[in-house]
Symmetry: C2
Subunit: 494 residues, 2 copies
């Protein structure tokens, strides 16, 4: 599809308004999204940014852009306390389980990929690991030091926020100012190394028991957490690129510090459009590993968790996420997921019904398919508004079912358009897919059901009503409904 | 299971004999296996070491060892010509496809993992990437330089093989001596940088157009291909570890050079047991990407290749590999794969039959299950002899089928043992698994078939022979055989 220039608008967290999307070097688009810190299983909160930016990735590609999508894996440097103190999250997990930290990182990044595959999240173009880009991070630290925006202290290097803020605005993304931040920062161990509480580590001296460490010009240590995203995004996407995404909880200090690091190192704003997804909440509180109120994705898929009334398939989770706009909050509840499942099943059933519709020789359809297509695109062009798109899809579902019930008619041209775009929006752009187990249309099962109907049909021809009824009743008990139509019997799994 | 010390013998390529396996720090075992260079799809040749060392990994774990299994991903430094010349394989592919090299590496490593999952190859504990360990490689280069076994030349660093060979034997693994090697080395571009033709690069100066490069004390460049395995194995497994595996084509120059690098840097032999799998051949020639005679795994799974008569499921490929000892050659042919499929299906059918067997009150079984278990373990203990193990499994298959045909009897204790160990050897150790599509035992299909038999049973009770025969005949057409037994009818997919 050719790119419809200037149609797409997206909300830029930096300017706090919707802007027309104009890539720096169209048709190329560079997109970086903060990925997981791999020290535990992915939970519902992790599915949110993955699905949100998968929609962005899919829609941009659909529009014809050539997207290089980079999503990192944090396998070193993310300390327990985001403000530079405490143990490295992965090293701590490794110590507790007596494993090499990289075994932990490998295990949980494999599991994360499996979960993403289950959610039908497309794989990013590059998934760089923080531990694999130590040189790039050291070189950026060096540049920041050379430019005078950092200082060495006890084998660590700290970003000089106070000095930076004199020339630039540290806080422009999150809307904070240093004075507020100063007041809100708690006293922390080892902070005496810093000139000021707001300063943050860009290189950390490793304590003797720290396993993950590399030699650097400043001693043996490891990069500060914010450093990896600055170094890896500029390596793979350039010093200024189009889109940087992540959860809104990362705006401060993580993304704010990324901006400061890039400006201090390269003298350039790193990102044209900042995009932030809202949170998944549970009982009104953000779901997070550090908060201990999370439910992992595998538990949703198995139903094996005390807060879950049943198992929920990956596509139910995906649809649940997409029913909310990415900048809105999503509150977890069993009822909301059960409702999402019903909606998803309705959508899938309508998609199957599409192939059963018989077009009529009518000049005008009761449903203006072209207008409907435009409406769907408008929803996506309005900052990827998936809930509005879904509401249009349900308008189409209603119409499809009416045609199926012979209440209204559609002509062949409109039906072909409707089939094409309904599937484009549902499968290609929203990234939903049929679950084999749900629709039960495995090849063998379909053959067996076809055979069953044939035997029943022959029984009826032989006036053997007992056998015919017996087959129908037994299938009904299994949840398979036989409908006799003028074109013969059809089956449906309810 | 507790470790049966000193039972397992394995063939050590270094000593050229079978040795008792005695880990350096039992029950811990460190194992390193050379993984793929990710610039193309995995072909049948790649499946060989993956399956061979998966058997080793599975059996060692079964014996109770705690195995840390490291398999690397080569995403930089592997030049077209193994002797240090030509373009970087991944950079060349990237240039041809106008992509960032890391996009190529990510794409093909994701595809490799998918293929390995399909083959039921367990995931290694750590899958380190060469590009993610540049510092570790530079530090090892520095050590080798410091110890006088390397020299700088035009921004590159070369390993001084001639000097090394005066104190140590370069060629002990491959059985070569330097003089032979000298005679067999062709004249290559840029070799004038070397003091001697047998020297190899441990750090390569990057030409101006080379994208993948890092700053080093010797200039901007990238590590030599052999360096990554030495640096990453010692980082994750220590300077001396238990098992190093790979294809026998890697013995020279790759593994030979790994030994030299480690001895030169650390003064220690890096590996206690070297293990090498033999090749997959096609028309008697090694199947390889560089030879252009390969068939990729996805083509086997789809059957979409002019040399393939049909599609072959991943388990057929796995079983085909395991039918040969890992140190024997495997020659590809359609007939051999078709035979492997038959054998695999027979094995799976016997496994299903196990649950249908009725134990009898006999004191002695016609088949000594304990002896059989010991024989199976002996095969594995004899250098992982999978074809011998498989022949014992077919002895069991024959016995299982005889019990099923009521020709011989088994008592409950023997049956329980047989069930347990048959499944342990087939599923846990050989790593085979049932293919849902093959056995057709998806839940819905099984229910539908059950229902079909019920309707037929009722028809027979009503003396409605026409319906009963109709059901049987229609199922037969679909390849499903109904057998009437004294306990009722059963079905079987042929």
């Amino acid at each position: 599809m050719a790119i419809k220039e200037n149609q797409l608008k997206l909300y830029n967290s930096l300017t706090r308004k919707k802007e027309s999307f104009e890539p720096i070097n169209s048709p190329h688009v560079g997109m970086y999204v903060c990925g997981p810190t791999v020290y535990g299983d992915a939970h519902l909160g992790h599915a949110r940014p993955a699905v949100a930016f998968d929609l962005v990735f899919r829609y941009l590609k659909h529009l014809g852009y050539k997207v290089r999508y980079v999503r990192n894996i944090t396998d070193v440097g993310h300390l327990e306390n985001d403000a530079d103190s405490g143990e490295d999250k992965i090293a701590k997990k490794a110590r507790l389980e007596e494993l090499e930290p990289m075994e932990i990182a490998q295990y949980y990044s494999d599991r994360y990929m499996d979960n993403m595959d289950a959610l039908n999240v497309l794989r990013p173009s590059i998934q760089p690991r923080a531990s694999g880009h130590i040189i790039e991070q050291m070189e950026m630290v060096k540049k920041i030091l050379d430019n005078g925006f950092a200082y060495k202290s006890n084998g660590s290097v700290y970003f000089d926020v106070v000095k930076y803020n004199k020339e630039h605005h540290y806080g422009k993304l999150s809307g904070r100012n240093i004075e507020d931040t100063l007041e809100n920062t708690r006293e922390l161990d080892g902070q005496s190394e810093k000139h000021d509480n707001v300063d943050f580590a860009i290189w950390k001296n490793a304590s003797p028991e720290h396993i993950m460490r590399w030699n650097s010009p400043w001693g043996s240590g490891f990069p500060g957490w914010h450093m990896e995203c600055s170094a890896m995004s500029s390596k793979y996407l350039g010093e200024t690129f189009d889109i940087h995404g992540g959860g809104m909880d990362l705006r401060f200090p993580h993304h704010e510090s990324e901006i400061a690091q890039s400006v201090a190192a390269n003298g350039k704003e790193p990102v044209k459009y900042w995009m932030h997804n809202n949170m998944v909440t549970i009982n009104g509180q953000k779901m997070g590993k550090s908060l201990g109120n999370f439910i992992i994705l595998d538990d949703f898929f198995s139903g094996n968790h005390e807060l879950l009334q049943q198992a929920f398939e990956p596509m139910t989770i995906r649809f649940f996420m997409l029913q909310a706009h990415y900048r809105s909050n999503v509150d977890f509840s069993n009822d909301a997921l059960i409702a999402a499942k019903k909606g998803f099943d309705k959508l899938m059933k309508a998609e199957e019904t599409l192939d059963k519709l018989n077009p009529q020789d009518v000049t005008e359809s009761a449903f203006d398919v072209n207008e409907w297509i435009n409406n769907c695109y408008s929803a996506l062009d309005d900052d990827f508004n998936s809930p509005v798109l879904i509401s249009y899809l349900f308008d189409a579902v209603k119409f499809i079912n009416s045609v199926n019930d012979a209440k209204v008619a559609i002509n062949i041209e409109s039906l072909d358009l409707l089939k094409k775009y309904f599937r484009t929006f549902v499968f290609d752009i929203l990234g939903l897919r049929k679950d084999e187990a749900v629709s039960g249309d495995s090849e063998l099962s379909a053959k067996l059901l076809g055979l069953m109907l044939k035997i029943r049909h022959e029984a009826k021809l032989n006036k053997d009503w007992a056998t015919a009824d017996n087959i129908r009743n037994k299938l009904t008990e299994m949840g398979i409904i036989i409908k006799d139509t003028k074109d013969g019997a059809v089956w449906e799994i309810v």
